[in-house]
C-alpha cells in the first residue's frame, strides 16, 4: 500500500520536475529572441558611438584641411627691378651701412611704375603700390645684401603680393559684389588681370610660413618663432619633469613605507593630475615670476609651469610601469645578492622604462597643446623676433593659432588652419612615437 502510494507520489513529483523543466525551457525559448535582440542593440550602440566619433574626426580634418591647404602656397609676383644707386637713395656707396639705410621700398615702387607707365594718378599709384607686400622690399634687401654688385643691373625677383591680392588669386574674394564692399577695387582687379595675362603672377610654396616669426601682414607671418618657442619650452619641461617624475615614482613605489603619509601623498598626486591647468599658471606667476624674478614671456618660465602640470601625469604613468614589473624579477635579483639599489637600477628600471617613456611622451604632447597656464606668465604675446635662448621672449604654437584666429585680416583664416595642421602633425608624430615605443619594448609576463 505504502509503496504504491510512494510510487504514485514519485511519479507525480517526476511529472512535476518534467513539467517544470519544460516550462523553464519554454520561458527561456520565449525570452531568447529578446535577449539576442538586446545584445544586437548593445553592439549597435557601440558601433554607433565609434561611427559618430569617426564622423566628428573626419569633419574636423575636412574643415581644417579644406580651409587651410591653400595657406601652404603664396601668390608671388615676378618683378624685374632695374636697380640703381639713385633709386635706392645711396648714390655710389656700396658698403654695409649704405645698404642698411637704402630705400628698398622706393626702388620697388619705381619698378612698379616702370611696369605700368600708363598709371599716373596719385590714387591709382597708391593702389598699385598697395598690391605688393612690404615683403618685396625685404626680398630685394636680402638679394642685394648677398651680392651688392647687382646694384645697377636688372634683378628679377619673386616677391609676395599683398594678402588681399593673394585672397583674390585664391578665389576668396567675390568680384561680383559692389566695389565699395570689396577689399580690392576695380582698378586693382584690372592690374591683377594684366599680371595674369602677362604670366608674371603665380602660386609658389609659402616659405615664409615656415621660416618667419609672427607678423601682422598675413603674407609675411610664419610659425617658426612659435615653433622655436615651443621647442625651448618643451626642452625645459622634459629636462625637469622626466628625472623628477621618475625619481618620485621610484621612491614611492620601491622605497617608501606604506603608511598614512604615503597614502596622503598618493591621493594628492592623483588630485594634482586633475587640477585645471590655469591654476598652474597662477602658481607660476606667483612663484617663478614674482618671487624668483624670472622674465615674463620666457620659455624657461613656461617650461617650469608646464613641468608642474606634467609631473603628476609622469609620476602616475611611471608608477604604473614599475608596478607591472613582476616581483619575481626583484626577488631573483635580491636572491642572487644584489643590493636594493642594484636591483632597481639594473633590472626593474630598464624593464619599466618603455612604460615610463610612453607616459612622458603623452605628457609632453599634452604640454605642447597647452595655452591656459602660459596666459598668466605672458606667453600669449605678439613676438616677432625668433627667440635665440630660452630666456628670450617667445610664444608657442597653440598660442600662435589663438592669436591668428583673432586677427581681422581674412588671409589669417587659412593660415590659422595651416598652423593647426602643423600642430596636429607634431602631436600625431609624438603619439605615434609613444605607440611604437610601447610595441617595440613592451614585455608581457
Amino acid at each position: 500500500m505504502a509503496t504504491a502510494e510512494q510510487q504514485v507520489e514519485m511519479t507525480t513529483s517526476q511529472k512535476d520536475i518534467l513539467s517544470r523543466q519544460s516550462r523553464i525551457s519554454e520561458t527561456v525559448n520565449a525570452g531568447l529572441k529578446s535577449r539576442y535582440r538586446s545584445e544586437a542593440r548593445f553592439r549597435a550602440y557601440g558601433a554607433g558611438a565609434i561611427v559618430l566619433a569617426l564622423v566628428m574626426l573626419v569633419l574636423l580634418f575636412v574643415t581644417i584641411i579644406g580651409k587651410g591647404y591653400t595657406a601652404f602656397v603664396q601668390t608671388e609676383l615676378q618683378l624685374t627691378i632695374a636697380t640703381s644707386g639713385e633709386a635706392l637713395g645711396i648714390g655710389n656707396d656700396r658698403d654695409a651701412a649704405a645698404l642698411n639705410r637704402a630705400d628698398y621700398q622706393a626702388q620697388i615702387k619705381a619698378s612698379l611704375r616702370d611696369m605700368f607707365p600708363d598709371v599716373t594718378g596719385r590714387k591709382e599709384r597708391r593702389d598699385l603700390y598697395g598690391m605688393v607686400s612690404d615683403g618685396a622690399a625685404y626680398a630685394l634687401r636680402d638679394a642685394l645684401a648677398e651680392n651688392p654688385a647687382l646694384i645697377g643691373q636688372k634683378v628679377t625677383l619673386q616677391v609676395p603680393v599683398a594678402s588681399d591680392i593673394d585672397m583674390l588669386h585664391k578665389g576668396q574674394i567675390d568680384r561680383t559684389v559692389a566695389e565699395a564692399e570689396r577689399k580690392v577695387n576695380d582698378f586693382q582687379i584690372g592690374i591683377y588681370d594684366r599680371w595674369v595675362s602677362m604670366g608674371t603672377i603665380g602660386l609658389h610654396f609659402n616659405t615664409a610660413l615656415f621660416t618667419q616669426g609672427d607678423s601682422r601682414q598675413p603674407e609675411l607671418a610664419g610659425i617658426w618663432g612659435a615653433a622655436v618657442g615651443s621647442f625651448y619650452t618643451l626642452i625645459v619641461t622634459l629636462a625637469l619633469s622626466f628625472p623628477i617624475g621618475v625619481a618620485a615614482a621610484v621612491y614611492l613605489e620601491e622605497f617608501a613605507p606604506k603608511n598614512r603619509w604615503t597614502d596622503l601623498i598618493e591621493v594628492n598626486i592623483n588630485n594634482l593630475a586633475a587640477v585645471p591647468s590655469i591654476v598652474f599658471g597662477l602658481l607660476g606667476l606667483a612663484v617663478f615670476l614674482q618671487f624668483f624674478g624670472m622674465p615674463r614671456s620666457a620659455p624657461v618660465a613656461g617650461g617650469l609651469v608646464l613641468t608642474l602640470m606634467n609631473l603628476p601625469i609622469i609620476i602616475i604613468a611611471s608608477r604604473a610601469a614599475l608596478k607591472s614589473v613582476p616581483p619575481s624579477i626583484r626577488e631573483a635579483a635580491l636572491g642572487l645578492g644584489a643590493s636594493k639599489l642594484q636591483t632597481i637600477l639594473h633590472h626593474v628600471l630598464p624593464l619599466a622604462m618603455p612604460g615610463m617613456l610612453t607616459g612622458t611622451i603623452i605628457g609632453m604632447a599634452h604640454a605642447l597643446g597647452e595655452t591656459a597656464p602660459l596666459l598668466m606668465i605672458g606667453m600669449v604675446a605678439f613676438v616677432v623676433d625668433i627667440p635665440m635662448t630660452p630666456m628670450d621672449s617667445a610664444t608657442v604654437l597653440p598660442v600662435q593659432i589663438y592669436l591668428w584666429a583673432d586677427s581681422p585680416e581674412r588671409a589669417f583664416v587659412e593660415r590659422t588652419s595651416a598652423a593647426i595642421m602643423v600642430l596636429l602633425a607634431f602631436l600625431v608624430t609624438m603619439n605615434a612615437a609613444a605607440v611604437l615605443l610601447r610595441k617595440k619594448f613592451e614585455r608581457r609576463w
Partner: protein, 346 residues
Amino acid sequence: MLKKTLALAVLATVATAGAAEARDTIRIVGSSTVYPFSTVVAENFGKSTSFKTPVIESTGSGGGIKLFCAGVGTEHPDIVNASRRMKKSEFETCDKNGVKDIVEVRVGYDGIVIANAKAAPAFDVTREQLFMALAKEVPQGDKWVANPYKKWSDINPSLPNEEIEVLGPPPTSGTRDAFTELVMDAACEKLPAAKALKDAGDDKTLKQKCQSVREDGAYIEAGENDNLIVQKLGANQTAVGIFGYSFLEENADKIKGAKVDGKEPTFDNISSGAYPVSRPLQFYVKKAHIGTIPGIQEYLNEFTADKAWGPEGYLADKGLIPMPDAERAKYKEAATKLKTLTAGDL
C-alpha cells in the same frame, strides 16, 4: 655627491633668473582693441630700426593697467595700451607704487558697430531702442519690469519683424565696457525712470538697472573672438552682432553696419564724431623707463609719425580711425616732449 650637484643646479637656476633682470626689448601690455594697431607699429619699428621688436601682450585694458602700475623696474611693462582712459583710482595706485611720471598719447578712434548679414533687412536704430532690446529690465511707467520684448518690431514698428538675437562680447571685454558706457548708460540716463533713481541718489540701483544685460537668451555672449561673430552672422540671417569697426571693414562683403541714431558707421562719421558709438584709443608710457629700456622714444616717434597714424597712414589701412589734425598735433607734442599726466587731467 648627488646632493652637491642638486644644490649647484638650484643655484645655477636662481643665478640665471637673476641675470635676466637686464632687458633690451620694450614690453607692452593692455587692450585687445589697441593690440592690432600697436603690433603693426611694433613690427614696422622692429624692421626699420636696429632695436628689437617690442613684445606685446593682449591683456585687456584693466589687466594691463594693473600690470603697468605695479611698479618701476625692468620686470614691469613700459607701455600700456588702453581702449578707455585711465581711471583716477588707477592713477593713484600707480602713484602709490612709485610710477609717478606717465605720458598719455591718444592714437585715434575706434567705432563699435551693430551689424547683420548682407541679405538681412537693414537696421536703423536709436540707442534707446538698443537699450530696450538688450537691458535686463526696462521701465514701464515708473516701474522696472523684466524685459518683455521678443521681437524688434515690438519696440518700434519701424524695426524689422524679427526675433531679438544679439551676438556680443562678454563682460571681460573692453568692447563690452565701451558698449555699456556709450549705448546702455547713455540711453538709460535719458529715461524718466532712471532720472527718478538718480534724483533719489540711488546710484547703485541706477548702475545695476542701466548696465545689466538680459539673460533670457536674446543676448548671446559670443566670446572675445570677433571673427566668430562675423561667421555666425553669415550663417544666421536674423542675428545681429556687436564688434569693432575694423571687423566690419574687413568683411564689408558679408555684413553691413546698422545706422545708430541715424548715422552710418563709416570711416568719416566715426572720425568726425558724428557716429555716437565710438571711443578714443590711447597708450600710457612710463617715463622712468625711457633711457633705461632702449628704443621707447623711437617707438613713440614711429607711432606718432604721419605715415603711421595719419589719415593715409598704415594704421588707417588696418581700421584705426585717425584723429583730426589739431588733436594729432597735440598728442604728437605730448609724445615728443613727454608731457606727464596729472591727477587733474583725468
